[in-house]
């Protein structure tokens, strides 16, 4: 399965600032996924990042708040803009891999834990 490097692993940010999270994969992948996990909650998909086109956002998430870049097949960034304490979460990058039994086995990066003061 793919190896994903995600950074920063954690950060503490001031309200109103923006932070960009980077995700690097050791192989070329068509789609990269960005998830958010708020405290005590499960994983929620923010958007799907495709190389060469705009990201596809899930209901409740907008490009102005979570701009995504996907400059090539191994790299993506997610920016959390104009942060508020409600944005304090773990943000996870993931890619789809082919497990032993078939497709759509997501591999996750180590996650970025953001705390907004």
């Amino acid at each position: 399965s793919a190896v994903i490097s995600q950074k920063p692993s954690r950060d503490i940010c001031q309200r109103g600032t923006s932070l960009t999270i980077q995700c690097q994969v050791d192989s070329q992948v068509t789609m990269m996924f960005w998830y958010r996990q708020q405290p005590g909650q499960s994983l929620t998909l923010i958007a799907t990042a495709n190389q060469g086109s705009e990201a596809t956002y899930e209901s409740g998430f907008v490009i102005d708040k979570f701009p995504i870049s996907r400059p090539n097949l191994t790299f993506s960034t997610l920016t959390v803009s104009n942060m508020s304490p409600e944005d304090s979460s773990i943000y996870l990058c993931s890619v789809e891999g082919t497990g032993r039994s078939g497709a759509n086995v997501l591999t996750f990066g180590a996650g970025s834990r953001l705390t907004v003061l």
Binding site: S9, S42, L45, L92, S101, G102, N104, L106, A110
Partner: protein, 112 residues
């Protein structure tokens, strides 16, 4: 709207006990059900289930899918403190749209 429900929300047992975690789902176009273990931040893949009644096993962990009951269980025998984690169930249910719907997870704590 696709829905995945896990129970219990949390579980505390002693080392050596056997635990059973439950996952039920209401989705259209079911393709597969996946179990993940989340210890710190990144979930790690455990099992993918596509067919009813076929048990997947890895060491002390095993899982089985019941498509008639729209559910799955994850069993852990002879639990160890290293099994303490959040166990997430996810369902792949959108043809042509690689999106997983996750349950809220079961937080398992193993007491030495």
């Amino acid at each position: 709207e696709d829905k995945v429900v896990q129970s219990p929300l949390s579980l505390v047992v002693h080392e050596g006990d056997t635990v059973t975690l439950n996952c039920s789902y209401e989705v259209t176009n079911f393709r597969s059900l996946l179990w993940y273990k989340q210890e710190k931040k990144a979930p790690t893949f455990l099992f993918m289930l596509t067919s009813s009644g076929i048990e997947k096993k890895s060491g002390r962990l095993s899982s089985i899918l019941d498509k008639k009951e729209l559910s799955s269980i994850l069993n852990i025998t002879a639990t160890q403190t290293g099994d303490s984690a959040i166990y997430l169930c996810a369902v792949d249910a959108n043809f042509g749209n690689e999106k997983l719907t996750f349950g809220t997870g079961t937080r398992l704590t193993i007491i030495p």
